[in-house]
Amino acid sequence: MIPDRTDLLNRTRMTVRAALSELPRIAAIAAAALVLATAANAVHPMRLPLLTGQLQPGIPRWVAARLRQVDAQEAKRLVDDPKVLVVDTRDARDFRQGHLPRAVSLPYHGFGEQYPEFAATVPKDRPLLLYCYGSDCGLAARVGKRLIAAGYTDVAILRHGIEAWKAANLPLETPGEHNEQ
């Protein structure tokens, strides 16, 4: 039997009214989730600032404090220092097209697979210089966070990434030109 228009209208009205009557419970569930989230975050080792401010999302304050930001000239000095390992956190395809001199690839999107090999060859106290694409790129900070959590003690990030390096007219290298770690 096909319901007539009035019947359909009444049913719709009742459904909407029933859904609206759930609003106080929905608000209670949402509020409870917020309280639990705030409490759990307060005791989590990767405690996040609720509002990010100047920080990138997903980066705890204590990690941000240990990620040293360097400009292109300081990065050049680090690149010239053989004790420093230069780490490219961009996708492997972009790394192959050109990277900072002596850089090795440890892409954010392949971190889980490539980190075991990286950890086996790079000592925890070796100074690291990380970089990614440009101003809006957060990949270097994300990889830096994972490395600091894994125990690396000296992690620097090139501010504004490879764009800052190019803007300073510093040289790039393609893979194979330098294979030393």
Binding site: L50, Y108, G112
Partner: protein
């Protein structure tokens, strides 16, 4: 004693199957477990889930952290409520709304050409990037949530009309 318990259980299961209550019960508990399971990795790695949410480029960066933390616990609560059978109508409405939001978020990102990892069940950035085809999973979940919501409202409407003060039986 134990044979009595077994007999009661079997009788209840048979009654559920006869009255058509087994399917909605299974679906409700199933959806509850899906949401509970989806929350586990987000609770362990809230920072990584915040990264995944940032990649969607939908929320302002300032509120991504609090949204990521909140969403993980919302999934926990909704999963527990559905499994326990408490506040089912509210929980069903909310899981339906969340699934719609997930589908909309993934669709917007795909439309913009952002290659992203879903972050639905794992926060590992190395997973397969989402495609339009892979949206069938969320589509299926949405159908189940819609059915559960409709059923929950219908059941409560029927119980109201059967036992409510306006129509006492």
């Amino acid at each position: 004693m134990s044979s009595d318990f077994g007999r009661v259980c079997i009788r209840n299961v048979c009654q559920w199957l006869r009255t058509g209550r087994a399917v909605p019960l299974g679906l409700r508990i199933g959806i509850g477990f899906v949401f509970l399971y989806a929350s586990i990795d987000k609770l362990i790695h809230p920072d990584q889930f915040a990264e995944v949410m940032t990649d969607y480029e939908i929320l302002p960066k300032a509120v991504v952290n609090v949204a990521a933390l909140w969403l993980a616990w919302l999934e926990v609560l909704l999963g527990v409520l559905l499994i326990a059978g408490v506040w089912v109508r509210s929980a069903a409405l909310m899981v339906t709304a969340l699934t719609v939001i997930f589908i909309a978020g993934i669709s917007v990102a795909l439309t913009r050409g952002i290659a992203l990892h879903c972050g639905c069940f794992s926060t590992d950035p190395g997973g397969h990037a989402r495609t339009w085809v892979s949206l069938w999973q969320e589509g299926l979940l949405l159908l189940a949530c819609l059915w559960l919501t409709a059923r929950a409202f219908r059941d409560s409407a029927e119980s109201r009309s059967s036992y409510g003060p306006t129509n006492p039986r």
